[in-house]
Symmetry: C2
Subunit: 363 residues, 2 copies
C-alpha cells in the first residue's frame, strides 16, 4: 500500500494524549497547531472553523470523543462522559453531517464495549476501554487517509507530467484527514516528482481557494496561481488549462454533482473549451437515494459573507447560495476511492451498477 | 427632449465657482461631496478613485481645466495656467483615455480663444475667456448627460415592467456625468414608474457591483440584490433573470465586446438559459479601427487587488486580467446613443454601416 507523502503540514493528529489541530483561521499567515485536552475548547475551535471540511470534521469528532473520556473514573463516569461528549460535539456544527458520523461511530463503539463488559459480567477496565476507543478513532482517521490515497491513485494515471489544473474552493488536505480529494493526486504526483501548475479560483465569498488551496499547494512546493472566479473563463479560453478538478459535497445517483457555488459555470466554460472536468470524492459523498441534482436542497448563506467588509447595507438584498449543481453531462469522470466512473453516455453502466451497489450496502 | 431624473445623488457638478465630486471612496457608508477650487487636490482625488468611470473622468478633467485658470491674471498667466493644468490633469491617471479626452477638449477650446484674440489683435479678456471655458466644460458634461439619456431611451422599449435585470460591475450614474450606460434605462424607467428587480454581480476583485451599483440603485429606490459572481449561473438557471445588461470599455468593429472581467462567462451562461445580453455604451466606446476582440490588449492588474486582505503571499502567483472579451455572437443587441444594433447574423448590415460611418467621422 502507498504511504501518504509529507506535505509540510498536518491538518490533525493525536500525540501524547492530546488532539492537535492546524489552526486554519491563522492561515495563510501563520502555521500553528492548537492542542486540545478537553472538549469545550475543541467545540469552540470547530465553531470558529479552525478545522473545516467534511472528512476532517469527522476525524476531529472521533478524536474529540476520546478526549471526553480521558479523565473518567469508573464505568458510570466513563459511560456518562461518552454520551455527554457525543452530545456536545454533535451540536458544535449542526449541519456538518460528517462531524456527526465520526462522533456516532465512536459512540457506538464505546457503547459496544460497555455492553460487552456488562454481558460478560466483567469488571469494566476504564483505561483499557479508553485505549480501545483511541485505537478506533485512529482507525477512523486512517480510513479517511486511505480513502484520500485511493482517490489519488485512481486519478493520477489520467494526469500527465506538466499538467495544468484549475480547481475551485478547497478540497485538499486541509479539508480531510489525508491528502484531500481534488488536490490528492496533485500532492501524490508531486511527491513522485511530477510537475503540475495549479490554478486556484479565489472562491468567493469565503475565499477558500485564495486562503487555503493556495497555501497548501505552495506549502508542498507545487506552483500555484490564484485567480478571481470570473477570470477562469479567460484562462480556459487562452488554452492554459488541461484539467478542471474539483471535489463534491454530494453526488446524485445520476451523476449530478453538488459542489461549492461556481463549480457549475466553471464546468460550462470548461466544456466550451474542451477541457475535461474531473470530480474527485470518496464513495460516501455519493447519495444513491437522491435521483438527481434537482432533489438536492441548496443552503442560502448570510449577507455578512458578502458585505462583511462594508457592514450592513440598507435596501440591498443578497443572493448567496452555498452550492450549485453541475449536470452529469458536463463531468467527464467521477473518481472515488473505488475507481474511475463515467455517469453519462456510453459507459455509464459501470456507474449505475456501482451506485446500485452502494444503495444496497446502505439499505 | 427628456430631462434626466433626480437619482438622489450627483456624481459631479459645478456650483459657486467650485467643482463638487461625490466621494466614491466613502460609498456605500457615507454620501459626501468634496469641493475643489484648485487642481492639486483634484489630481489627488482622481488618483484615489474618489471619481472613477471613463465618462465621469472626462467631465472631471474638463471642469478641472476651468479650476486651473480661475486665478490667472492677464493673457500670459491664463495661457500658461491652461497648459500647466492640462499637463497635471492628464498625468493623474495615465491610462484613463477619457480623462485626457475631456482635458484636451477644453485645452483646444482655450487655445482657440487665445488664437482668435491674437488674430484679431483684441485685448484678451481673462474673465470672459474663463466664463467661455466654463460654458464649454458644462457643454461637455451636458453632452455626456445627453448621451446617457439617449442610451436609456433607446433601450427602454426593449424592457418590460417588472423586468429582472442582472448586471456586472458599475456602468451606472456613478461612472458618468449622467444616468450611466448599462444602468441608465433602469434609472429612467424607474423615474417613470416602471418596476425592476436588479441583480448586481459583486464583481471581484474590486467589488464595484457590491459597493457602487447596489448603492446607486438603492439610492434611487430600485430593488437590488447583490450576488457573488459565481452565483450568477445558478440565478440564470433558476429562471430568475429576464435580461443581462452590461456596459463596455471597448467594442470592436465586429461587435466583440471588451468589458470588466467576468462579462464573458456571464454571457455564456445567459446564452445557455436563453436570456438576452444587452451591451449599452456611448458610440465613443466603439473602435471602428479594431477589427475584433482578439486585437484588444488585456491589462493584467496587481496581486494586491486579490490578496489585499491577506498581505503578500510567498510562492503564490496571481492571474488577474482586468477585462475579458465577449464574442459578438453572444450579444443580442449593442445599444448606443444612436440606436439599437445587432452585430452578428441577419440584420448586422445596419451595424456594419454604422461602424463604417464612425470610422469615416474619425478618420
Amino acid at each position: 500500500m502507498t504511504t501518504a507523502p509529507d506535505l509540510g503540514f498536518t491538518t490533525l493528529r493525536w500525540a501524547d494524549g492530546k488532539l492537535l489541530l492546524l489552526d486554519q483561521t491563522k492561515l495563510p499567515q501563520i502555521q500553528e497547531e492548537m492542542e486540545f485536552e478537553t472538549i469545550p475548547p475543541l467545540v469552540d475551535a470547530i465553531q470558529r472553523l479552525c478545522v473545516r471540511g467534511a472528512p476532517a470534521l469527522g476525524c476531529a469528532g472521533a478524536y474529540g470523543m476520546v478526549l471526553g473520556v480521558l479523565d473518567a473514573e469508573g464505568r458510570e463516569q466513563w459511560s456518562a462522559a461518552l454520551k455527554e461528549s457525543a452530545s456536545l460535539l454533535s451540536a458544535a456544527r449542526p449541519t456538518a453531517v460528517n462531524l456527526v458520523v465520526g462522533v456516532q461511530h465512536i459512540l457506538n463503539f464505546g457503547e459496544g464495549l460497555l455492553a460487552a463488559a456488562a454481558a460478560a459480567s466483567d469488571k469494566f477496565d476504564v483505561d483499557l476501554a479508553t485505549a480501545k476507543l483511541l485505537d478506533q478513532a485512529i482507525a477512523f482517521h486512517e480510513a479517511d487517509t486511505a480513502s484520500c490515497l485511493a482517490i489519488a491513485e485512481n486519478c493520477l494515471p489520467l494526469l500527465h507530467d506538466g499538467a495544468r489544473v484549475l480547481t475551485h474552493c478547497n478540497a485538499g488536505a486541509l479539508a480531510t484527514g489525508g491528502l484531500g480529494t481534488a488536490l490528492a493526486p496533485l500532492h501524490l504526483g508531486a511527491s513522485r516528482g511530477m510537475n503540475f501548475q495549479v490554478y486556484a479560483d479565489e472562491t468567493r465569498p469565503l475565499r477558500q481557494g485564495a486562503r487555503l488551496t493556495a497555501w497548501e499547494m505552495a506549502r508542498n512546493g507545487v506552483p500555484v496561481t490564484v485567480l478571481p472566479d470570473s477570470a477562469a473563463a479567460s484562462l480556459l479560453a487562452s488554452g492554459g488549462v488541461d484539467f478542471v478538478i474539483v471535489g463534491s459535497d454530494r453526488i446524485a445517483a445520476n451523476g449530478d454533482v453538488c459542489n461549492k457555488i461556481g463549480t457549475f459555470p466553471l464546468a460550462v466554460m470548461a466544456a466550451r473549451f474542451n477541457v475535461p472536468v474531473l470530480v474527485l470524492a470518496p464513495a460516501t459523498t455519493i447519495d444513491p437515494f437522491c435521483p438527481s441534482g434537482a432533489e438536492i436542497p441548496i443552503e442560502q448563506r448570510a449577507a455578512e459573507e458578502i458585505f462583511g467588509e462594508d457592514g450592513a447595507r440598507e435596501g440591498v438584498e443578497v443572493y448567496n447560495p452555498a452550492f450549485d449543481v453541475t449536470p452529469s453531462s458536463l463531468v467527464q469522470h467521477i473518481i472515488t476511492d473505488h475507481g474511475v466512473f463515467q455517469a453519462h453516455g456510453k459507459g455509464c453502466e459501470a456507474w449505475q451498477s456501482y451506485v446500485a451497489g452502494l444503495g444496497n450496502d446502505r439499505a
